[in-house]
């Protein structure tokens, strides 16, 4: 009887993990994120040790503990250290297996002693072996050996009370180890195939050509075209993309753009290495709305935004997902420290005001740092390439949660599979309103300010972020009662430069939790089922050969045994009695097959449980049991 952990809450716990570096491809062109089991954000006392973790998977407690013990610093004296090492070993794979084996052997001797009187004389020599097997079969319960004495029955009860959870623990451990190795092998095999495919197709450079400083004309960055085979589907979306929404204040006077980093040629429009330029359309918001968005982003992610005082909310906690509406509705906005021009008296002077200089703030390290950038952009012709005052954040390379800046780098695998026309994210109405979607061509824009929010937030925070973006889209859509002529919002993935349907933000981009803690891919269910079925087939053939049963009978026996039903009508070696050497070899073979089969079952449970839970959730959503 194997319990499957209540993965729903575990998944929720995992969603809150910080996201670390992306890893390489596993399944065709999809990029996955590897979630760190241990992270700065992780509070092991609350979410990770989910209340619904089953007894069987309590062994998963041992893994992090193991890592902590191995990699952490050891406090205490040498004796304590030694004790810790002993306990570590005891709970490792090897220790558990050895413990289970020792328990079995001890039980064998114990039951032999207890039941000796009841065995008929000619069974005497092999009682020991038979008792050993009875213990091994304790979980299945064959029944052809069972205790007769009162003491034997009572001892059986207590032996089972201790032994069954122990066995489950051991099985789960072994199942975890085997599952990870299975996944590893699957990934190797799969990547060999997909690497061959990828070499043929992928030609878009992931790295952008770096412009040498001083060149007048910037080279248009090559657009990122996704490999044509890629089809994003809902289940593959791991996290929301970094969202960049441009708030464009349409009628601003062109300002002389100050560079955020010392440029080689201040007047040139060239810039340092840039990713594919996101396609910005024009979204006109008034100052108040824009400031509110900035304030809310900042408030949510605890980014100190100069010029704004955000009242600290007591409910904010990194690990919690709070609703958008719970943010404080009013923000105190003050004048910025420096202003170039006279402030506009009609609107409060905020970072998004005309006169505020472009700025950039980064969130604290632990948040996985959202990076709010207010940039100047200036008029450009369609033929020009995208230029952007380089932000130092753009040059960093990894989506590293504990690094403060964002992860926009073309050299690393994209965090987000870009949308394809045929994929899940069709270009919606926004596409029609923003005429140019051809990468590389920029619509002519009047200068203004751009609010770009990059984030590397983890799961729920990303969801919130996308809700924020969604609000922006809603406001843009004329929800405030007035139609905006130039109201277009295109949310773009700043990495790929492809547009992303604003309607889908916050809804479809559901941060689906990644796989189990130390695996990067999910093995599809049919493969696991095929593996289990083949194991049954192998067992059937084995027992046909060993025992002389028919193939049907052998298969029936394997199934009944591995499902732990264990009728006992077919038992290997039974027909020959217990006294011959041959019979004992057969009994041992049968027991080994059983034990390995239980491990295989545990492994398959481990491999498919997340997929099964996801499918069940989808099913429950479909039938209306669960609401979104």
């Amino acid at each position: 009887m194997l319990f499957i952990p209540r993965a729903g809450r575990e998944q929720k716990a995992r969603r809150r993990k910080a996201i670390t570096q992306p890893t390489t491809c596993l399944r065709t062109e999809q990029r996955w994120f590897k979630c760190q089991w241990l992270s700065a954000e992780q509070s092991p006392s609350s979410q990770a040790w989910s209340r619904q973790c089953s007894v069987a998977s309590c062994s998963s407690l041992t893994f992090p503990a193991l890592r902590w013990m191995k990699m952490g610093e050891h406090r205490g004296s040498g004796l304590v250290r030694g004790l810790k090492m002993v306990i570590t070993f005891a709970f490792s794979h090897l220790g558990l297996c050895a413990f289970v084996a020792a328990y079995t052997v001890a039980g064998a001797f114990l039951f032999r002693e207890l039941e000796q009187k009841n065995i008929l004389p000619h069974y005497d020599s092999s009682t020991h072996r038979a008792a050993l097997l009875r213990d091994l079969h304790n979980i299945t319960g064959y029944g052809h050996i069972s205790p007769r004495t009162r003491l034997g029955k009572m001892v059986t009860i207590f032996y089972a009370i201790i032994g069954i959870p122990l066995m489950l623990l051991c099985l789960t451990n072994i199942g975890d180890a085997m599952a990870s190795s299975f996944r590893f092998m699957y990934r190797r095999v799969c990547c060999v195939c997909c690497n061959r495919n990828q070499e043929a197709e992928e030609e878009s450079p992931l790295t952008n050509p770096t412009n040498s400083s001083g060149s007048g004309e910037a080279v248009e960055p090559a657009p990122y075209t996704p490999p044509p085979k890629y089809k994003p589907s809902r289940r593959n979306m791991l996290i929301s993309p970094p969202i960049s929404a441009t708030i464009h204040r349409g009628s601003d006077n062109p300002l002389k753009p100050p560079m955020l980093e010392p440029p080689s040629n201040p007047s040139s429009k060239a810039s340092t290495p840039k990713p594919p330029r996101p396609l910005h359309a024009q979204l006109t918001l008034n100052d108040i709305e824009a400031n509110r968005i900035v304030a809310e982003c900042a408030a949510y992610t605890k980014t100190p935004v100069p010029g704004m005082i955000i009242p600290p909310s007591p409910e904010h906690s990194q690990n919690e997902c709070h609703d958008y509406e719970m943010l404080p509705p009013t923000m105190h906005v003050s004048l910025p420290a420096t202003s170039r021009h006279t402030p506009d008296p009609s609107t409060p002077s905020t970072p998004l005001s005309k006169d505020a200089p472009p700025a950039e703030w980064t969130g604290p390290k632990e948040n996985g740092g959202p990076h709010i950038v207010i940039e100047e952009h200036f008029e450009r012709l369609p033929s020009n390439s995208s230029t952007r005052p380089g932000s130092p954040a753009l040059t960093t390379s990894t989506h590293h949660a504990s690094s403060m800046s964002l992860a926009v780098s073309s050299s690393v695998s994209r965090p987000w599979p870009p949308s394809t026309p045929g994929g899940l994210m069709p270009y919606a109405n926004e596409a029609e309103e923003a005429p140019q979607h051809i990468p590389g061509r920029q619509p002519p824009r009047s200068p203004g300010k751009t609010l770009v929010v990059y984030n590397t937030l983890s799961g729920d925070a990303l969801l919130e972020q996308s809700k924020v973006a969604r609000r922006m889209a809603l406001m843009n859509k004329g929800g405030f009662g007035q139609a905006r002529q130039d109201a277009t919002t295109v949310f773009t993935d700043p990495v790929s430069g492809q547009a992303v349907n604003g309607d889908m933000l916050g809804l479809s981009y559901r941060p689906i939790p990644p796989d189990t803690s130390d695996a990067d891919n999910r093995v599809p269910i049919p493969i696991v089922l095929a593996f289990v079925a083949s194991y049954l087939g192998v067992g059937a053939l084995l027992f046909t050969w060993l025992e002389g049963w028919s193939l049907m009978d052998a298969g029936y026996f394997c199934f009944i045994t591995l499902s732990t039903i264990g009728f006992g009508d077919f038992v290997p070696g039974k027909s020959l009695g217990y006294e011959t050497q041959e019979a004992q070899i057969k009994l041992v073979t049968g027991s080994l097959y059983l034990m390995f089969g239980l491990a295989v079952l545990a492994m398959s449970f481990n491999l498919v449980q997340e997929e099964v839970v996801i499918k069940c959730k989808a099913f429950a959503l479909w039938i209306g049991l669960m609401k979104e």
Binding site: R6, K153, P329, I623
Partner: protein, 373 residues
């Protein structure tokens, strides 16, 4: 105010979306109605009540199926072989008796002993290898016996006193198990969760602990209502949160074990009365069944024809089936309750060993291998 406005906008947006769907639905065809009805039915089936009903229905269906496959069309070859053996033995005994003109005890006994030993030697392999039961399949596979058999399949107890002999029976068993075991797991998890909630409710009410600690609050009318999920805050359990120090958030393991022990004892008391087993034997049977080991050495009801043919055997077996189903749910409940306690104890244990780094609310102490990647 702006937030409220945004919310209004969002609601309107959502209502627009839904309105579009409603307009389409008014033009719904019969197919849509049927699909909707099916969906509602399936949704009901997967609620707690539905799952219970589903399991019971599955059990009954299996009983009928196996009774037909194995009972009516069953394989009676071992019984026929046993019949032949018996007749041969009787003939042999008669020959012995007829041969000895003077009935002298010692010689007669010797010869008869040898004859009976041979008979025994022939019958025992028949029992062990061929599964000879002593009754014809149509008698052995009564409805209640098939009910117990189906139960033993999908709960993975697997008594083994009744096993399929025909090929179709074996295939049917495999398929029945493949479908039944996930169903059983679903049943156990669903009903176990509900029972765990009820038990926690009763426990916290009875011991007048802080009900808020487990997610309940007192509403205006004084009833205990669960705190809605969105408003719940995950709280850090206090260090060494035993009784009297911190808030008790989990039911102690001893109570869970007590519940199981009481249930096993009750079952033992009842079965010892019926089957005339000793109390220990009956408790042993209950325990072995509930833990799904299911040796099969002691099984209520008689599949082998005995001297006392009770009419109540059938009802007894049905009651045992119900007992085992309810018992499985209780076991699931206890597992559910014990997990939390076990995890908290383990956490405390690890923390005391200094292996865990304490993560407080405010700070973010990095775990040792945070950036290990």
């Amino acid at each position: 105010m702006q937030t409220a406005y945004a919310r209004m906008v969002y609601d309107r947006y959502q209502r627009n979306q839904r309105a579009d769907g409603g307009r389409a639905r008014r033009r719904a065809t019969l197919a849509h109605l049927l699909k909707d009805a099916c969906r509602r039915l399936i949704a009901f089936l997967f609620t707690q009540v539905g799952v219970c009903g589903l399991v019971v229905a599955y059990n009954i269906m299996g009983a009928f199926a196996f009774r037909a496959i194995e009972g009516d069309y069953g394989d009676a070859a071992p019984e026929e072989a046993a019949l032949l053996l018996r007749e041969d033995a009787v003939k042999r005994l008669w020959n012995i008796t007829a041969r000895l003109n003077i009935l002298e005890q010692t010689q007669w006994r010797q010869e008869v002993t040898r004859a009976l030993e041979d008979f025994q030697g022939d019958v025992v392999p028949l029992v062990k290898a061929k599964g000879y039961r002593g009754v014809l399949p149509s008698q052995a596979w009564s409805f209640s016996a098939a009910l117990m058999y189906s139960l033993s399949v999908y709960t993975t107890i697997g008594y083994g006193n009744l096993t399929p002999r025909t090929e179709w029976g074996k295939i049917a068993t495999i398929l029945y198990a493949i479908v039944g075991m996930p169903l059983m797991l679903l049943y156990m998890s669903n009903v176990g969760e509900v029972l765990a909630h009820i038990f926690k409710f009763i426990y916290f009410r009875a011991c007048s602990c802080d009900a808020g600690s487990m997610g309940y609050y007192r509403s205006g009318s004084g009833n205990l209502r669960p705190i809605p999920v969105t408003a719940r805050r995950v709280e850090e359990p206090k260090e060494g949160g035993k009784k009297g120090q911190g808030l008790r958030r989990t039911v102690p393991i001893t109570y869970c074990l007590m519940v199981i022990a009481i249930y096993v004892a009750c079952g033992g008391a009842i079965f010892s009365q019926w089957e005339r087993w000793s109390l220990l034997d009956a408790c042993y049977f209950s325990y072995i069944s509930l833990s799904t080991i299911g040796f099969g050495d002691l099984v209520p009801g008689r599949t082998v024809a005995g001297k006392n043919e009770d009419e109540e055997v059938e009802s007894q077996q049905i009651i045992v089936t119900v007992y085992l189903l309810v018992g499985s749910a209780l076991v699931a409940m206890c597992f559910n309750l014990m997990q939390e306690e076990t995890i908290e104890n383990l956490k405390t244990f690890w923390r005391r060993l200094g292996c865990l780094r304490k993560n407080s609310h405010s700070g973010n102490e990095e775990g040792p291998s945070v950036t290990g990647g």
